[in-house]
Symmetry: C2
Subunit: 189 residues, 2 copies
DNA sequence: GTCTATATCAAGATAGAC
DNA sequence: GTCTATCTTGATATAGAC
């Protein structure tokens, strides 16, 4: 599906870097080309227009998170809320390369709001999966919303939390999933 | 502080409307002027440049929510988590005029990420207030993050919930605040 | 496959009449 | 205080050489 010429990923890396450093509105083709070390013509050979670059950015980030969650799932002992937990643990990861979904998304949406469609779909699928889990619709939704809230705040650089607070919150989220699960189990007996 | 010529608010209304209908990237001065029924020259008489319009949009929305929360607070029986509850109830309001903070913010941030500063400050103040409440830092943070998550998703049009689900989630959030409070009370005895 | 040069266009902002 | 006309810039995209 995606061509894997070395410059292809190189250009996407550069585009993400520009967004992170200068903001979505400054992600011009000139800036991306300069950052990637190619000319604008070279860039436009790989991505015939700006929208195709933005879509590639979003798609690559979606794939990165999907792959990460599959890996995480393997290491979670079987239990009723594994999917939801893998989602929390994936978001907990502060690795720079891992947290560029926000950058890609804000650049895409700033250019054309309709480009949010693939992300909308991912969000939809997530909530379908998690709210069908055994802790109940509302509680699963709230946990997921809190995780997305954290990510979206970080994407907009309005998060009020430092690293230590951030990790305490994620730990509590994981704990709450278990607690909600236990409450539910008792109620069913 | 803010001039209240009728056209002043009229122009801000128009700017918000353009963002909601066409997206942040299409909020050009031409489009706003056309929507407001004035010429570009007329618009630029009130707002000397685009940034000043964007800042006015954000400030007005912040004030609307502050005023709304003050009103809501009066109707909440005294108790330990009144501030947090007023925040949830304010977010619950689906009145169109009330939910334009997202539009203003996305337009501002799309133009220049540094314009998020006033909102960053509001978010900071909120979390300071709520997490100092008696249900404990992590739980208060999670409730607040879930509310902000809902708002930010709606701002980006990626929310997967319909109206009925949305209101069930808000009800559960209010219930959880009380439940967390009770748990805390018992623990302190 | 990568480059330079250039066409085209849209948007922000200014000047000055009424 | 509102208008029209115009200037200027910067960004996307195309054409065509190497």
């Amino acid at each position: 599906m995606s061509p894997r010429a070395s410059s292809y990923d190189n250009i996407i890396d550069a585009a993400e870097a520009v967004v992170i450093e200068a903001g979505a509105s400054h992600m011009t083709l000139d800036a991306v080309a300069a950052k990637a070390g190619v000319s604008k013509g070279g860039l436009l050979h790989h991505f015939p227009n700006k929208v195709s670059l933005l879509m590639a950015m979003v798609q690559r980030q979606i794939k990165i998170h999907q792959d990460a969650r599959k890996k995480i799932l393997k290491n979670i002992p079987k239990g009723p809320s594994r999917e939801l937990k893998s989602f929390i643990i994936d978001a907990q990861n502060k690795d720079p390369m891992h947290n560029r979904l926000g950058a890609s998304m804000s650049a895409a949406v700033a250019h054309d709001p309709r480009l949010n469609e693939p992300i909308r779909k991912v969000v939809r699928d997530n909530y379908m999966k998690f709210t069908a889990s055994s802790i109940g619709f509302e509680k699963a939704a709230i946990i997921t919303l809190a995780v997305d809230g954290m990510r979206l705040q970080e994407m907009l650089s309005i998060s009020p939390f430092d690293d230590e607070q951030r990790s305490r919150i994620f730990d509590e989220l994981l704990r709450l999933v278990d607690e909600f699960q236990e409450t539910k189990n008792k109620a069913q007996k």
